[in-house]
């Protein structure tokens, strides 16, 4: 599916390119004194199509800007606002910014997010300004008596749904996949889904809270209980972001009274997912129950939490094979975080931002877990949880930007020092940069290990099989 998605993205990019070109061609020929209704309608339609496409493909920045522009043009189209020079100017400017955002998504250049945000604000102001037309807006008709409206507003039916009376044979839709909420967790570059029903909570774990039992199994203390930590990177033999799970994010899972903590690099999101059970004949790894496809088109394994907990009970998992890991792997929090000259304090700002974003996301995930637990009565809270998740995502984005900025600054600083003081100091770049650069290095060392629970097939092969099966289904 990801191959297909790439192809879809390509079509979207080309189409949006054409729509922007069309906008640019239309603008100069529109006379503010006597705008042709047809031109205005076309302009509106171009912006509307850009918004629709971007929203479908999840390009939120383009969607947001196109939405503001569309609102402005809607007033012009409906005749409630004159097509002033300010509006035409804003359209021209928005065209340029949209193109910049589009190019950035295509990997060409950097998105000027600040300018896009500023322009969004200005378009909204323009649309709300007095010459937005003081003519009373058309009164909305009374709420039509719909036959059915989805709770999330995603669809409305004006006719009664066709009753399906338990006969599957004559339906042309294959048996519906199971729909459920899943917590998407990241382990290095890989993603896994933990069924939300088995998630008790997500925690940020400090290194001092991690202890080893008998020198092997890693445990953490959670509310008086010692829980075995299942390091997913270790379990699936995938390269993790950090060289070793000493502390980080733990997802506490619970099935039938058995509990354990999954050690992951990050928790990403709670999503409703269509979960496809995998036929056992497909050589699925023992700890994978099913597969699903994320919004990005990526096919990901859904963890079989009960099997994982069984493994904990039988002592197969949780043992720390990496006790013999090189000593320089070090503790995540104590290793040479500062340069020897002690200067990169600025880097701590990035780390702080990062930590705040991670904490916000953890709060968001726990809110979603609680909302799911509350069932029907938690629907209001589920909306709040969704808002918190959105906020956490924005925080994470900001954190990333700050970290990147700091990394660049430190890089430049290190470059400057290296020029002045020889090569020794050049070997002490910011940890943020080093962390990114370390990722492939970490992978080569780790992927060679065969974890106790991993199938003999590589994860990539399993993912490929899932992907193929998904496409075939």
């Amino acid at each position: 599916m990801s191959g297909d998605m790439d192809q879809f993205y390509q079509v979207f990019f080309e189409e949006t390119d054409e729509l922007l070109a069309h906008m640019e061609a239309l603008l100069p020929r529109i006379d503010p004194q006597a705008p042709a209704a047809e031109d205005v309608a076309e302009l509106f339609r171009a912006v509307h199509s850009i918004k629709g496409g971007a929203a479908t493909f999840g390009f939120d920045d383009i969607t947001a800007l196109a939405r503001e522009l569309e609102k402005l043009l809607d007033g012009v189209r409906e005749g409630s606002r004159p097509l002033s020079r300010a509006v035409i100017g804003a359209c021209g400017e928005a065209g340029g910014v949209l193109r910049n955002l589009l190019d950035a998504h295509r990997g060409q250049g950097q998105a000027d997010d600040a300018r896009a945000a500023e322009l969004c604000g200005r378009l909204a102001e323009l649309a709300a300004s007095p010459d937005a037309g003081d003519g009373a807006p058309a009164p909305a008709p009374a709420n039509p008596d719909y036959v059915y409206e989805a709770e999330d507003g995603s669809y409305t039916l004006f006719v009664p749904p066709v009753q399906v009376r338990g006969r599957v044979g004559d339906r042309n839709v294959p048996a519906a996949p199971e729909i459920g909420d899943g917590l998407v967790v990241a382990v290095g570059d890989e993603r896994y889904v933990v069924p939300l029903g088995s998630v008790a909570e997500a925690l940020l774990v400090a290194p001092q809270a991690v202890c080893r039992m008998g020198g092997r199994a890693r445990m953490i203390r959670v509310r008086g209980d010692y829980l075995t930590v299942l390091d997913l990177a270790h379990l699936f033999a995938v390269p993790a972001l950090s060289a070793d799970w000493n502390a980080g994010v733990a997802v506490v899972v619970e099935v039938a009274g058995a509990r354990a903590a999954l050690g992951v690099d990050a928790v990403e999101d709670v999503q409703p997912l269509a979960i496809e059970r995998i036929d056992a004949s497909l050589c699925r790894p023992p700890a994978v129950a099913a597969a699903t496809v994320l919004g990005s088109g990526e096919a990901v394994p859904v963890l079989d939490v009960a099997a994982l907990l069984d493994a904990v009970r039988s002592g197969q998992a949780g043992a720390d094979e990496r006790a013999a890991a090189p000593a320089d792997a070090g503790d995540a929090e104590t290793g040479g975080k500062r340069g020897e000259d002690g200067t990169p304090r600025i880097e701590e700002v990035g780390v702080l931002f990062d930590a705040l974003a991670v904490q916000a996301n953890i709060v968001a995930v726990n809110a979603a877990v609680e909302a799911a637990r509350a069932g029907g009565q938690g629907q209001g809270f589920a909306r709040v949880a969704a808002e918190i998740r959105a906020l956490a995502k924005r925080s994470a984005l900001s954190a990333r930007e700050v970290k990147e900025l700091i990394a660049i600054l430190l890089d430049e600083q290190a470059g400057g020092r290296s020029g002045a003081g020889g090569e020794a100091s050049a070997a002490a770049p910011a940890r943020g940069v080093a962390k990114l650069a370390d990722r492939p290095a970490a992978s080569s060392g780790r992927s060679a290990r065969i974890a106790p629970l991993a199938s003999t097939r590589s994860l990539a092969a399993v993912k490929k099989a899932l992907q193929d099966e998904w496409e075939d289904s």
Binding site: S49, K51, F57, P144, Y155, L157, V164, N172, V173, S473
Partner: protein
């Protein structure tokens, strides 16, 4: 015999996503690029359902539904509108034009299939 759906959207990217989703669920799909194209295709083949975008050049989704409802085969056929617009006012217009339902873009593929299953059975 798989149900045959006419998918109408002026955006090639969205047509592709819709077709991919519907094909994946076992439907037969014919694409049309706007209302006029859809009308021609609808007259040539008896579809089981029409799924149309709202804002399109030449003939928009609601006008398309209005015209199709005049044809005997399409009088009671499920016709869904997909649009980024979601106000009560615009949905009321859709209902008045004869739409069977309204899907708000962006839609999740499973939602689309869910709604189609509801109206097609």
């Amino acid at each position: 015999m798989p149900k045959h759906i006419l998918a109408v959207d002026d955006s090639a990217a969205i047509r592709q996503v819709v077709s991919h989703t519907l094909h994946g669920a076992g439907y037969r799909v014919t694409e049309a690029v706007d209302g006029v194209d859809a009308l021609e295709k609808a007259a040539a083949a008896p579809f089981d359902m029409v799924l149309t975008d709202f804002n399109m050049p030449r003939l928009d989704g609601l006008a398309l539904i209005g015209r199709l409802r005049e044809l005997p085969h399409y009088r009671a056929l499920p016709m869904l509108v997909m649009s980024t617009e979601s106000s009560q006012a615009v949905k009321a217009r859709g209902r008045a034009a004869g739409a069977s339902g309204w899907l708000v873009k962006p839609f999740e593929p499973r939602r689309l299939l869910e709604v189609i299953a509801l109206v097609l059975g």
